[in-house]
Symmetry: none
């Protein structure tokens, strides 16, 4: 499970290992995880390295420590993610609705000037352009257009683009998403919007543009969404 010769740092390998154990349910909510010395012994690594992995998971909210007792799996990652970057799917699930989507188009195109600027790439660099209608409980909720640099996420196809992009990036490319910016504005539907969202021209709509960044501040996704204002309201919690 741990490869000492991998260029991936050991502590990061251990993080992923423990995360996986949590997500697959092998380590359950509220349960104690093995002690630091035990991890060190089992994987033949130093306790300080184990601590580095566990520290990060504590900071990310996966675990909590209790001096003298042990380290425990936190309950509900969901609530923490809610305070920030939720995908449409997660967002709808958290509202008790059933999300689905219809793929309208999947293209690889050269980036225009504005898209290139937002994604910090050169003009005409290749990007995926993926258009979807997002549905909640079967009814149209939003029209979404995503732009993703091909260079960063190669091998995206019409088939696998339906899976969670975030999971793909974190697990297969072992990159992690650190930050996102959103811009939200109000507008009114034009004829195109009205048709796809099944509303009337002049009805209010919510435009949301999100840019998601990797650890190093590299943008990897630009999503422009048009929501039906009568069905969707953006909810958001800030801490500190």
């Amino acid at each position: 499970m741990i490869n000492k010769n991998s260029p991936v740092p050991i502590y990061h390998q251990l993080e992923e290992y423990i995360k996986q154990q949590i997500e697959t349910g092998i380590l359950r909510e509220e349960a104690v995880i093995p002690s630091e010395r035990e991890f060190a012994e089992v994987f033949q690594i130093s306790r300080m390295t184990v601590r580095q992995a566990i520290n990060n998971l504590v900071l990310e909210g996966y675990l909590t420590r209790q001096k003298g007792k042990g380290t425990f799996v936190s309950k509900k990652k969901v609530e923490q993610e809610l305070q920030g970057m939720t995908s449409f799917t997660e967002d709808m699930l958290s509202r008790g609705m059933n999300p689905s989507s219809t793929l309208l188009s999947f293209q690889i195109i050269p980036a225009d000037k504005n898209t290139a600027l937002d994604l910090k790439i050169e003009d005409n660099d290749s990007v995926y352009k993926i258009k979807r209608i997002r549905l909640a409980d079967g009814a149209p909720m939003a029209l979404e257009t995503a732009y993703i640099p091909v260079e960063i996420v190669p091998g995206l196809t019409e088939e696998n683009s339906n899976l969670s992009l975030y999971q793909y990036i974190e697990q297969h490319l072992s990159l992690s998403i650190s930050e996102a910016t959103q811009e939200i504005e109000a507008s009114i539907a034009d004829s195109d919007d009205a048709e796809t969202l099944e509303i009337n021209i002049g009805d209010p709509i919510l435009l949301i543009q999100r840019i998601s960044y990797l650890q190093d501040g590299i943008p990897f996704e630009l999503v422009k969404s048009t929501f039906r204002a009568d069905r969707y309201r953006f909810v958001h919690t800030m801490k500190r």
Copy 2:
């Protein structure tokens, strides 16, 4: 400066020391701080201990590291606050605009059912109801109505209500604001909105409702704002 016999951990002492250097301006924004090895040498402590202190300050946003170059003082605690709870005034200032406001009314009224629910008080408990027009560079930007429980912030008057409520609460009542939730939706202007915001009926508007909480999760302010969509766009950064 560092006391090895103190019950306070060394890394924490060092954190406070560095923080102080930053806050007193001895270490300036963007400047390099001494290297880890230098701290270790000067204070005769281990480099790992220095790293523990610096790690924490990095996580708290005081410092940023750059491999091969050094560790730098982050600029502006303000910007971090911007990622979250900004008042209209701060928001506009950060956009390079000149904010002002016109008080429309200042009342103490019994809370209606919904307001009471949001503020977690009883129906008919007294609340301040403060209506303002918010201007940016002299032009109407938003219509704002704030509801504040009298019990939590007694002594608010038409005069001092113009000052920063947040500062007042943090400094005079020594309470601290920990969290806020926002709900954002799109709508279209009715005749009232159109008149106060100097736009046309049917123009798009952005409705923002914010509830701010004290440390203990006690709501102390409910603000409902109506923004001109042609002039205002909600911008928001999420981390992690």
